[in-house]
């Protein structure tokens, strides 16, 4: 079942989050790109560079993880003021264990977005009553589809995309916290 949400379309100019960025664990690919506006522009943290699609719709960004990863939220940097009809208005989130079994899990709508737009990827509410946070979603592959642009624009501009993991890893049996005393840490690694 697809959960539809509308998110706050005004975000900060720089991404500030206490969640860890897990983008480095993934292999990133895009459906198409214009020369010089490739996938690296999504990751460079620069609001002046952007990924521009250049091909048939739908446009999408695919993240493939080496192992099953918990994903808490996604953050997208958009700027309606500059990009106009290139700005996405609706995103679809797909997840799965591989490219062959992707399921649509969420659709996110926004109106004239500016700045870093953040939303949770999971759809199952966290046990905590007073937080609106969702449980992290465990995925191998995560796909962000640009379903529609403003004023029915064809190609799309996305200025940044960050994938954030949960603050604390959920409980597992062999879980262990990092060592704290020097006597222990001293022999953990060599350099």
């Amino acid at each position: 079942m697809v959960t539809a949400t509308t998110v706050n379309s005004q975000g900060p100019q720089t991404l500030k989050s206490n969640l860890p960025d897990i983008g480095n664990f993934a292999t990133w690919s895009v459906s198409s790109c214009k020369y010089g506006f490739n996938v690296s522009c999504l990751r460079d943290g620069d609001p002046n560079t952007y990924w521009q699609s250049d091909g048939p719709q739908p446009h999408y960004v695919t993240l493939q993880f080496q192992k099953k990863m918990p994903v808490q939220r996604l953050a997208v940097l958009l700027n309606f003021d500059i990009d106009d009809s290139y700005t996405p208005t609706k995103l679809l989130i797909r997840a799965g264990t591989g490219l062959h079994d992707l399921q649509e899990i969420k659709s996110v709508s926004m109106e004239q977005p500016r700045g870093w737009i953040q939303f949770d990827v999971g759809t199952e509410p966290d046990g905590d009553e007073d937080s609106s946070q969702m449980k992290p979603l465990f995925v191998y592959v995560l796909q962000v589809v640009i379903a529609a642009n403003h004023q029915n624009g064809k190609d799309t501009h996305v200025r940044g995309l960050a994938v954030l993991g949960p603050k604390e890893l959920p409980y597992t049996d062999e879980s262990q916290i990092p060592f704290k005393t020097i006597a222990f840490k001293m022999h953990e690694f060599i350099r």
Partner: protein, 303 residues
């Protein structure tokens, strides 16, 4: 092959007026460093620096020793001094990089280590340290590139083999990790850390008996290392040798009383043995030592 003990024995045979040379102290520090005996290594290097304050050679190793001992003040002072002596030396940049790394500023540390490799393109140490920083930034691909660059300049630089092993270990490619650790051990057979890392890879693969053998060997090389003992305890518990594990854990509790993992595992062991009162007491101590454990412990106590 690295045989630091042989080197130390040879130094002991020298006449006393020669053993007091700064060069010899630095060599002793170097040998102790290769044996992962950082406390004694730091004393030797301190001695060498006291006798020869403008010495640059081997000071990159000294900075790594201080990194291991987490002496941030001393390390920062060393980096400052080396920079003021010669800011174009790779050693000064490596010391500065280690300093940043200890402050958890890994991207800045990476810049410093890369500067060191620019100043001395034959510096395998610089490349390997860059690799470790890239790994700390979770950038596995460039970490591998750095380690390979280190091996290109010096194929016997075992920390780079070890580094490749840790990258594979993080990616859960256990057989490859094991292979690279073994390569490192071939070059430096008396390094306890390398051996227990191979043990970790074996343990993850489920080869508990072999892992236990590695931990025993590692412990024989550095009998005072609490970490190796702790890892052995975990294997012993998995092998259901509870009495031996209990004995080691009680020793560990006295050796490192402020390490939260020890009472935590001790509590789990007591529970396994059906001694619930003691288990609860251990869990409480663990929770007090590190509040991060409280969620897990709450989960365990509810069961």
């Amino acid at each position: 092959m690295f045989e630091p003990q042989v080197a130390l024995d040879a130094i002991m045979l020298l006449p006393p007026e020669q053993t007091k040379a700064p060069w010899i102290y630095a060599l002793m520090g170097r040998a102790r460093f290769e044996m992962a005996d950082y406390l004694i290594a730091s004393r030797a290097f301190e001695q060498a620096r006291a006798l020869d304050p403008y010495r640059m050679w081997d000071m990159d190793v000294f900075s790594t020793v201080l990194w291991h001992l987490q002496r941030d003040v001393q390390l920062s002072f060393l980096a400052q001094e080396l920079t003021s002596i010669d800011e174009h030396s790779p050693q000064a940049w490596i010391a500065t990089g280690n300093c940043f790394s200890l402050q958890k500023d890994h991207s800045q540390a990476l810049t410093c280590f890369r500067r060191a490799t620019q100043l001395d393109p034959r510096s395998a140490v610089g490349y390997a340290l860059s690799g470790h920083e890239a790994l700390a930034l979770d950038d596995h691909d460039s970490a591998m590139q750095f380690f390979r660059a280190a091996l290109r300049t010096d194929s016997r630089h075992y920390p780079a083999w070890y580094g490749l092993g840790t990258v594979y270990l993080k990616q859960n490619k256990l057989r490859k990790a094991e292979y690279h650790f073994r390569k490192a051990i071939e070059i430096s057979p008396s390094n306890a850390v390398l051996i227990h890392c191979e043990g970790t890879a074996l343990e993850k693969r489920g080869e508990l008996e072999q892992a236990l053998e590695r931990y025993n060997r590692s412990l024989a090389l550095s009998p005072l290392s609490p970490l190796v003992k702790f890892k052995r305890v975990k294997v012993l518990i998995q092998l259901k040798q509870y009495e031996n594990a209990l004995k080691d854990l009680l020793e560990l509790r006295d050796l490192a009383p402020e390490e939260a993992n020890v009472p935590f595992v001790l509590g789990k062991l007591y529970r396994e043995m059906g001694r619930n009162v003691e288990a609860t007491r251990c869990f409480t101590i663990a929770r007090d030592l590190d509040p991060k454990l409280s969620a897990i412990i709450g989960h365990l106590l509810d069961e």
